[in-house]
């Protein structure tokens, strides 16, 4: 069988299994095993599998992932979100559509200590949705805002997808976090602008009069203090050179745990809930790691990814065109796949392709900038119909809002996403500036 045909067969098996509801990780695992055995036979595969689980699970670099997830669940169960939203509504309340903006602000701030998009969307929704409803916000605007707010986090450290990209592309995690910071802020402001424009263009979705009576007081400030302290401690420590990202995650988890204890929200039952949720979140990711490993090893044996990279180079396309085509591909793929599976499966193929192109920047800068672009684009898939995992999560919590209304609600945010993606595509300096500054 020719390498190209074999590659197509491996992909066909994977996609076929995925289409019939086989877990994505297992679809990759099965296709990878078949591809591996076809090319190299059983005993090399058997040897590979002997140590694969150990090599993947017991890795210092990857241990940052369960630690950040644990930190997020301590924060979720610890009652930090309530106080945070109250403060955000005190700050934003004076503007038209202010509560929606507050939800965006609270989502971004909460994401600074929680590693998961879906968990953020669910946490902030549970505190913000009833408030927005009480103040007369439409189901469309409130569910759309909360679903979009959850995706902000993919750019805000400590984002798990960002960590995974850094590991795959062999880039410094701290540098990627720095590169994502400004795009993350732009995303947050862009979402707020989207709300401001939307409530003016399409009346009837937000109250005309400001009805929020929260004031910025010492009491409400107390609510954001834990998050601010933890963020400064963790990222100050990482950038100050006091500790590695993994150590930072451990410090973050410990201090979030302490903060939750101080807020008197954490019971033994809730700690168990944290462990269960961490178990589910981490296991899901590492299961995909196992599958993607097999898949990528089988693909590497065919040598098609390497050839593909040189073929693309030989076409002499403009580098920006290649990157744009890849990003478009992610938007399409994002309609059916989740962000982690996409990154794990495609980065080993696309990364060599992109890094070989001449953007007039150093290699490391290209790697970092490409990572930010990819992460922003896979975030699309969390919002856009027909799947939009975040839209489902938020909509499931708002029982009286039809799903079609929620999809309409995310449209202004998708427009904002598109504009931001174009901005960063043409001006890589926006994401690279802070990295250089911190060096």
């Amino acid at each position: 069988m020719s390498p190209l045909l074999l590659t197509l067969m491996i992909f066909a098996i994977m996609l076929g299994l995925m289409a019939i509801r086989t877990p994505i990780a297992i679809a990759m695992f099965t296709a990878g095993c078949i591809g591996y055995v076809t090319q190299a036979g059983w005993s090399p595969l058997a040897n590979f599998l002997n140590s694969q689980a150990f090599a993947r699970f017991a890795s210092y670099d990857l241990s940052v992932i369960p630690l950040f997830i644990l930190m997020g669940h301590f924060a979720t169960q610890g009652g930090i979100s309530k106080a945070l939203f109250r403060f955000a509504s005190a700050v934003m309340g004076r503007f038209k559509g202010g509560l929606a903006m507050a939800a965006v602000l609270a989502s971004a701030a909460f994401r600074a200590i929680c590693g998961s998009s879906v968990a953020t969307a669910a946490t902030i929704t549970s505190v913000a949705l009833p408030e927005m409803k009480r103040h007369g916000y439409s189901g469309r605007l409130s569910t759309g805002t909360l679903a979009a707010g959850g995706t902000l986090g993919i750019l805000i450290p400590p984002s798990v997808p960002l960590v995974i990209y850094a590991i795959l592309a062999e880039q410094n995690i701290a540098k990627l976090f720095a590169a994502a910071m400004i795009p993350g802020l732009i995303a947050m402001l862009g979402y707020m602008a989207a709300i401001a424009v939307y409530v003016r263009l399409v009346p009837g979705h937000a109250p005309e009069q400001n009805t929020v009576s929260e004031k910025i007081t010492l009491e409400s400030l107390k609510g954001v203090l834990p998050i601010a302290l933890i963020f400064v401690l963790v990222f100050g420590g990482i950038y100050g050179g006091f500790f590695t990202p993994t150590e930072g995650a451990a410090v973050g988890a410990a201090s979030t745990f302490v903060a939750a204890l101080v807020l008197r929200e954490l019971t033994l039952a809730k700690i168990k809930t944290c462990f269960y949720a961490t178990a589910q979140g981490s296991a899901m990711i590492f299961m995909i790691f196992l599958g993607a490993d097999l898949m990528n090893s089988a693909l590497a044996l065919t040598q098609v990814p390497a050839q593909l990279a040189s073929v693309v180079q030989s076409w002499n396309l403009s580098p920006l065109m290649v990157v744009s085509a890849i990003l478009l591909f992610y938007v399409v793929l994002g309609a059916v796949m989740d962000e982690l599976s996409m990154i794990l499966l495609t980065i080993p193929i696309f990364f060599p392709m992109v890094i070989g192109l001449d953007f007039g920047m150093p290699r490391d800068s290209v790697a970092i900038w490409f990572g930010i672009m990819v992460l922003m684009t896979v975030g699309f898939g969390l919002l856009a119909p027909p799947v939009g995992l975040n839209v489902y999560v938020v909509n499931a919590m708002a029982k009286d809002v039809p799903i079609a209304e929620s999809y309409r609600g995310v449209m202004p945010f998708l427009v904002s996403d598109l504009l931001r993606t174009l901005l960063l595509l043409f001006f890589p300096g926006i994401s690279l500036w802070l990295v250089q500054y911190l060096n």
Binding site: I20, R21, P23, I24, S59, S63, L67, F243, Q280, M287
Partner: protein, 158 residues
Amino acid sequence: MKTLELLAKACAVIGGGLLTLITLMTCASLIGRNTVGITLAGDFELTGVAAGAAIALFLPLCQVRRGNIIVDFFTSNAAASTTAALDRFGALLLAIAMALMAWRSTLGGLNAYTTHSGTMMLGFPEWVVYACIAPALALTAMIALAQAVQGSGEDVQP
């Protein structure tokens, strides 16, 4: 299934406990390093192996809760009986994959035991981690097999 579920929950709590230990150890090590200048040499190796065991111990519960992501885009209009049958097939495939991994990890662990392979600095024996990974993978396989045989009854809901 009840027993398997209890075992999975116990594994998850142990895994969570291991992660908590890592955070404590790291904090102690950092305080030592940045204040009195005492370094816990090789603490990162312990973090790696403990996290490895924890992650393996997390797998069974994830399968109990059917937490492994599937694509339901193509089957969203299919009848409930069709999706149930497909889910049983998916669970079966997962059971086979996990059984394969459990078997090979057992061999890998035995090999690590006989060759006395350990971590670079502390020489922490690798077979200890294998001893967590292989049973956890086997438990995951059994849970998935039970789900494939029974279908999604009430007892597999989170």
